[in-house]
Structures are given as C-alpha cells and as structure tokens.
C-alpha cells in the first residue's frame, strides 16, 4: 500500500507495532506472575494488602493484552507483511472485515484472542467483584492468573504472532477462503467467550476448594458467569452450525466432527453445571458434584483447545499443527486438570452439604439432568477420542462418524427431554409426581396432536421423526403449563395472573425461554435430521428437477468476479404449482491467491423448510453445453433450529439482567461488606 517498501530496520511508527505487541505480551506475563502469587499468599496469611494486589494486576493485565491484540489488528489492517503471521494469513485485496477477522482466523492470533478474553473476565472480577469476600476474590484472581501464565508461555514460546519475516513478501498468502465469511468472522470469538468464560466457574471452584467452603453466596457468584459463558458458547455453536449449513454446501448442519465435538462437550458439561449451581444456591446441596462439574467444564474447554491445536485428531477443520505445541498444551492440561482434580480429591470430601432431598423432587430432577448431561458429554468425548485410543493400543485406524453419535446420543437425550417438562413443576425437597403429571395434561394433548400431524404429514419417514416432534410439543407446552401454574392462571382472576406474570423474576423467564428455545430447536433438528430430501444430478440450462413438490429449473451459470475471488454463479427458478416461489443464485468461488474453491449455497428459508441449491463443477460427460453438477435439497423445518438457539440465548440474556445477579452476594454477609468498606 502507498508504494511503501517495508523495511524491518526502519523506525517508522507502524514498523514497531509488532515489537510493541510482543513486549506488551511479555509484560502481561510478568504482571500475571505477580497476580498469581501475591493474592494467593495474601489470602493464606490473611494479609489484606497482598490480597488487594490482585485487583490492579488484573486490570493491568487486561490493558497489556488489549495493547498486544490492538497491535496485531493494526498490523493486519495495514497489511504489514514483514510479520510472518500477517503474510501467511492476509492479503491486500481482502475486504476489511476479513482483514480484522483474519487476526483470529489462525493459530497464533486465536491464542492471543484466548488470553485477551481471559484478561477481560479477570478484570471484570476485579472491577465488579466489590461484594465478594476479599479472600475469595484474591484466590479467584490468583487462579485466573495461573491459567493466564500457562497460555502466555504457550504463545511466547511456541506461537508468537509477532514473528518477523525476512525477506518481506510483496503480498500475503490470504486467509483460508472457507473462513472468509461473516458467520465465521464472529464464530471463534463467541466460542472463546464461552470456553474462557467457564474459566470463571473453574477459578471460583478452585478458590472454594482452597477456602474449604461452598455456600449459597458462592453459587450466586458462579451462576451469572457460567450463564454468560454458556450463552456465548450456545451462540458460538449455533453460528458454527449455521456456517456449515450454508458454506459447506452439503445441506447438513452438524457433522459430529472432532472440532465440533470439542465445543459441544463443554456445552453439555456447562449445561449440567448451570443446573447444579442452582441447587447449591437454593438448597445447599450437591456441592462436591457442582465443584467437580465446574472443573470438568473448563477442563473440557482446555481439552477442546488441545484437540484442535495439537493435531492428534484429523478433522475438516484444517488448522496448521505442530507437535511441540501439542506437547506444550498436553503438559498444560496435565498441570491444570490434574492439579485441580488432585486438589479436589484432597479437599472435596470436606465440603458438607446440608440440604437433604427425596428422589422425586426438584433437586432430583436437576440431578437427573446432570447425570444425563454428564453421560452425554462422556459419550461424545469417548466417540471423539476413540480413534486415538484404539490407535494408541495398536488397534488400527478407524474413524467414528455420525452413525455412532446419533445411535448413542439421541436415546440418552430422549428421556431427559421427557423429564424436562416435569422437573420445574416439582417442589423442592420432596414432591408428588402424580400431581405434577396430572397438571401436564395439555402437554400430553399437544404431544399427541404433534405425533398424529407428523405421521400424517410424512407417513413413510422414520419413527424417530414422530417421536422428536411429539417430544418438542411436550416440552414446549409443558414449559408453558409451568409458567401458567406459576402465575396461577385460571385459579385467580386474569388481571391478577397478568400482574403476577409481570412480577416474575427475570431468572425464571430465563428458564422458561431456555426450555422453550430447546423445544423449538428440537423441531428443527427433527425436521432437518429425518425428512431431508436431496437430489444430485447434472443439469443443462432449461432442465428441471422436482424436490419435495418444488420444481427447480436451472437457468444456466455465469462467471462473476468478487474482490478476491472469481465465481461461477448459477441461476435457479423455483416454482410450485406453476407459480414462481423464488430465484436462487448459488455460487462456486475460486479464491485468487490460494486457488481453493468454496461453495455458497443458494438458500430460501421459510418456517416450513429451506429450499437449498448448490452448483458444482461444469460437467462435460453428457455433452450438453453449459451443464453443471447441481445439488438440490429440501430441509424441512431447519430454520426452527436457529430460531430455537436464538430463543435460548435470549433467555440467558434476560436471566443475566436479573437484579439478583447484579447484587451478587446476598445481604447476609455484612462482615464482608465491612471489610470492603475498610479498604
């Protein structure tokens, strides 16, 4: 740009960005070392000024990492190819959005994003943790800094994003075209906000184990962090799945790919944690289990990072891998997970739960949720690692695919969804399940109607589809029944019920929306998973093919040019009963620098189903001019899945605004308040 010849020796302003960023990162490591020692020792010796050191250190750490991240972003935006990372992953022709998203679209930059988010969470505790008991806060910040140290070392020693390159290339090698997509620009930050967000629950768990105390106040602190992390992870997984749907061009939205699983396992564990933390908060029980879940959830996030970054598993997610990085992350894993589980084995038995409960109770239902989620997470983990385990035992090379996961995962989840509608209707401590089931009659009715409707709609489809829709109706209506019960609808005058509805705490709205969101998402998963119609053929201009009652006419394909790619754009006219429904324009792009092709599906989304067309290679075998390989799909109800995910994310956002969370620790801790006031 500007005809400038980059020269590493030049002392211009932008030329030192890389060194400044590198230096800021090294300083952040030093600050983290202080933050990891002083507050922990201070908490052990009960020395308030040592404990207080954690707060400025966390904020300082954040500022330094933000500076480093800002430097790398600046290098990308100005296309400074004297930096290896920029030269390998950027190009001057790339649109600005992808220059910025390119910062984390590679290994080194994504690790920098990882520590940035960790620092954001750490400084959030420092800034907003005024109500936390000082010793707990000091320990949480100390544990956070310990994790950060591991990652700073990892970045500085094995994955330095600021490494210089000489001679300086004229232009860069461009970002992997698959990643040049708006959906994927925000997918990694969302996932990382989720992964790293669980580090908060982890730090609180370790701090609680050191303190030897877990109480309602602790749970009240952990819950919003877990919830925030969970909603980011949910949104991140949703975005990833949506991207796979329209970008990979195979009409699918979930492939049980090891990297997808790496994000799904922490999600399952995090969902369990979210529910068991409620039990700790409300009922002062399941403490040891909740602590273990907090450790496991973050461990699974770290393991996910290991699987993605070490290259021990093959995956469609082609990240550059390097064995030294794998060894480093494995050592980090052993220290963090092994260390925390050892601490758990040592201190865990001292956690005393006071709340007792009968199996049939709200606690019982939540524990059931926990067991199912934990089992599901274990199964997905086993399936993901099985090829590795078998190979390690000399059993040969295999791959575990969707048939295994679908066959095992779905039957585990079905009973949980059945219980899910019932759980919120049960009382704490002990409950009468018959009364609860009787109140669910509208849900029974809805499930029956849904089953009959599904059966009459697609009689030849798999039985699972009917079960899926019935369960979705059962869960959705069951959740509404619980809401109606809570506002005493029909048992009190309507006006009074409505006023109760307005006074519902936002946290319970969160639960209601979360469960309804899942019900809606199940509708989408069932539809797209069981009744998808597909047709793959060679089409010449004018040819038509009929899929699910829609007639797709191929109108030919023309070359078009994008900013950094050349594309073939196909044109389809979709008609139903002679009337034009929509025009679809799928593209097949070839990126100029890498030469790698990508598909952009043409999609028309409706609530009933998506019309989905993909154009492949030009075909010469039939001898017809202008003929192309085309794939046409009808994906019934698939849009419901993303709507459902959005409802779940919205539900957790509503819940996060609950006053209870903002206040944090309850008022029954005047002692803590007094100490806070003193400093």
């Amino acid at each position: 740009m500007e005809g400038r010849r980059p020269c590493p020796g030049q002392a211009g302003g932008r030329q030192v960005s890389a060194e400044l960023g590198h230096f800021a990162l090294a300083l952040a490591l030093c600050v983290a070392s202080v933050q990891a020692t002083l507050p922990l020792i201070g908490a052990y010796r009960n020395n308030p000024s040592w404990m207080a050191a954690g707060q400025p250190a966390a904020i300082m750490q954040f500022l330094l990492v933000a500076l480093a991240f800002g430097c790398l972003t600046h290098l990308y935006v100005t296309s400074d190819f004297s930096v290896l990372n920029v030269a390998s992953n950027s190009h001057t022709d790339k649109p600005l959005l992808y220059k910025i998203s390119g910062v984390w679209g590679n290994h080194e930059g994504s690790m920098l994003l990882w520590v940035l988010i960790l620092a954001v969470f750490g400084s959030a505790v420092a800034l907003f943790g005024r109500n936390l008991p000082p010793s707990l806060k000091a320990r949480v910040l100390g544990v956070q800094a310990l994790i950060a140290i591991g990652f700073y070392l990892f970045i500085l020693f094995t994955s330095n994003p600021f490494e210089r390159l000489f001679p300086v290339p004229v232009n860069g090698r461009d970002l992997n075209p698959l990643l040049q997509d708006p959906g994927l620009a925000f997918h990694p930050p969302m996932l990382y906000l989720g992964y790293v967000g669980f580090s908060m629950a982890f730090s609180f768990a370790i701090a609680a184990l050191i303190e030897g105390r877990v109480d309602a106040a602790w749970a009240r602190w952990v819950r919003p962090w877990t919830l925030a992390a969970w909603s980011f992870l949910t949104a991140g997984i949703g975005l990833g799945s949506w991207w796979a749907y329209y970008e990979l061009g195979w009409g699918g939205w979930w492939y049980w790919d090891p990297v997808e699983n790496a994000s799904f396992i922490p999600w399952l564990a995090g969902t369990a944690l979210l529910h068991s933390a409620t039990v700790v908060e409300k009922r002062d029980t399941l403490k040891g289990w909740t602590i273990l879940l907090a450790i496991i959830t973050f461990s699974m996030s770290l393991l996910g990072t290991f699987l993605v970054r070490s290259g021990v598993l093959t995956s469609v997610h082609a990240f550059a891998t390097d064995p030294t990085r794998g060894v480093f992350i494995l050592v980090l894993l052993i220290i963090v997970i092994g260390g925390s589980l050892a601490l758990y084995a040592w201190r865990g038995p001292q956690l005393i739960s006071t709340g007792l409960f009968q199996p049939i109770s709200r606690e019982g239902a939540l524990l059931f949720n926990n067991l199912v989620m934990a089992t599901a997470a274990a199964v997905v983990l086993l399936g993901t690692l099985y090829p590795l385990l078998l190979d390690a035992m000399g059993g040969g090379k295999i791959s575990v695919g969707p048939p295994f996961f679908n066959a095992v995962f779905i039957p585990i989840m079905l009973p949980m969804i059945a219980i899910m509608a019932l759980g919120p209707l049960l009382n704490w401590k002990r409950s009468d399940w018959r009364a609860a089931v009787q109140r669910l009659w509208p849900a029974f009715l809805a499930a029956l109607i849904a089953a009959v409707a599904a059966w009459s709609w697609v009689a030849d489809g798999p039985f699972l589809g009917i079960v899926g829709l019935a369960l979705a109706a059962w869960l959705g209506v069951g959740t509404l029944v619980e809401l109606a019960e809570r506002v005493r609808l029909g048992r009190e005058p309507l006006a009074q019920s409505l006023s109760r509805l307005r006074r519902q705490p936002r946290a319970s709205w969160g639960m209601t929306l979360g469960h309804i969101g899942l019900a809606v998402a199940i509708v989408g998963m069932t539809g797209a998973g069981t009744w998808v119609k597909e047709s793959i053929q060679v089409m010449a201009p004018g040819d038509t093919v009929t899929v699910a009652g829609y007639e797709f006419r191929f109108d030919g394909a023309k070359p078009v040019n994008g900013p950094n790619y050349a594309a073939t754009r196909g044109h389809f006219t979709v008609t139903k009963n002679g009337k034009v429904v929509v025009l679809l324009d799928p593209e097949k792009r070839v990126y100029n620098v890498s030469g790698q092709p990508t598909t952009e599906a043409g999609i028309h989304a409706t609530l009933l189903g998506d019309l989905y067309a993909v154009i492949g290679d030009a075909d010469a075998t039939t001898g017809k001019p202008g003929a192309f390989v085309t794939r046409i799909y009808f994906n019934p109800l698939v849009a419901w899945m993303w709507v459902g995910i959005l409802i779940m994310v919205a539900g957790s956002a509503v819940s996060l605004t609950d006053r209870r969370h903002r206040i944090g620790a309850p008022a029954k801790r005047p002692a803590a308040e007094a100490v806070q006031g003193a400093d």
Partner: protein, 181 residues
Amino acid sequence: MRGRLIFLLPLLLFLVLAGYLALGLTMDPKKIPSALIDKPAPAFELPPIDGLPGSGFSAADLKKGGVSVVNVFASWCVPCRAEHPEVNKLAQMGVANVYGLNYKDDPEAAKAWLAKLGNAYTAVGADRSGRAGIDWGVYGVPETFIVDGRGRIRYKHVGPIVGDKLVKDILPVIEKLKAAK
C-alpha cells in the same frame, strides 16, 4: 475411606486419559496404512501427457526388475510444487526409477508445470479420469509409492516429501528393498 476414593476417581480417570493423549501425540493421524501394502500394483496403462514424448506409464514398467518409485502429482496441487525438487533429486540419484502419475490434470497445465520445475521422471502417465488413481488407493495428492522389482507395492508415503522426509523415510525403504534382493 470409601467416600474419599470417590473423590479420587476423577483424577485417576484423567491420568489414564492423559496417558493416551501423550501416546496420541507420538502418532500421525494423517498416516493411514494402505491396504495395498505388499500386494501387487494394480493393472493400469496410462498414455503420456498430451504433447510430451514417451510411451506413457503402465504396470509392465514396474515389473522390469529394480525398485520403482511412483509419485502421484498434479499441477493444481500446491504441496506437489513444494516436493518436486526433492522428487527430481531422488530421480537424479539413480537409486530407483521414478515414475510420475499425473492425476486429474489438464495436459497443457501439466506440461507447463513440468517444463518450469523440471522433469526428471523416467516416464509420466496421464490419469485424466482419475481411474488409475482409484485403483492405487489415492485419496489425496501428493502421494508416493515404492514398488519392489516384482511389481509389489511395499511402501506408501502420504503428503509432500519435504524437509528430511526423503532422507529419513524414502531412501531407507529403497535401500532396504535393494539389499533384500
């Protein structure tokens, strides 16, 4: 005591898992053993690349005695470009006949590619349809096979021959096969 053991269980399970992960790091998941190892090379007969001299490349070439190397390449494959100097070096060493299997390629592009990067192959066969590639079990380019004097496939290398791979992986196999004869 039993209560304590339950708290220890997660740690023990993790240690087992960590052991497997450590073992996993020592293995390369991309290295998939070929089902054709120690089997005779498939029957095939490929024409030369359009416009290049020579009579192409067929199964008969591999049974002439002497160790052969079959290198699957294409002009559209970037790693092939990276490994090509090493392939040329191997051919010039004269320890084995090095054949090229030009996989699903445009003849003009392949010709230009070989003219630019050098063509040290004993012979090159053009597999435009990819049919011979399927018989050889090719699932990605580049791949390199080592065939003994009797036409049996003895070794398969997946991915580019770069860095120390020629010296560490390819040459020892050739030496061993030559010594065994």
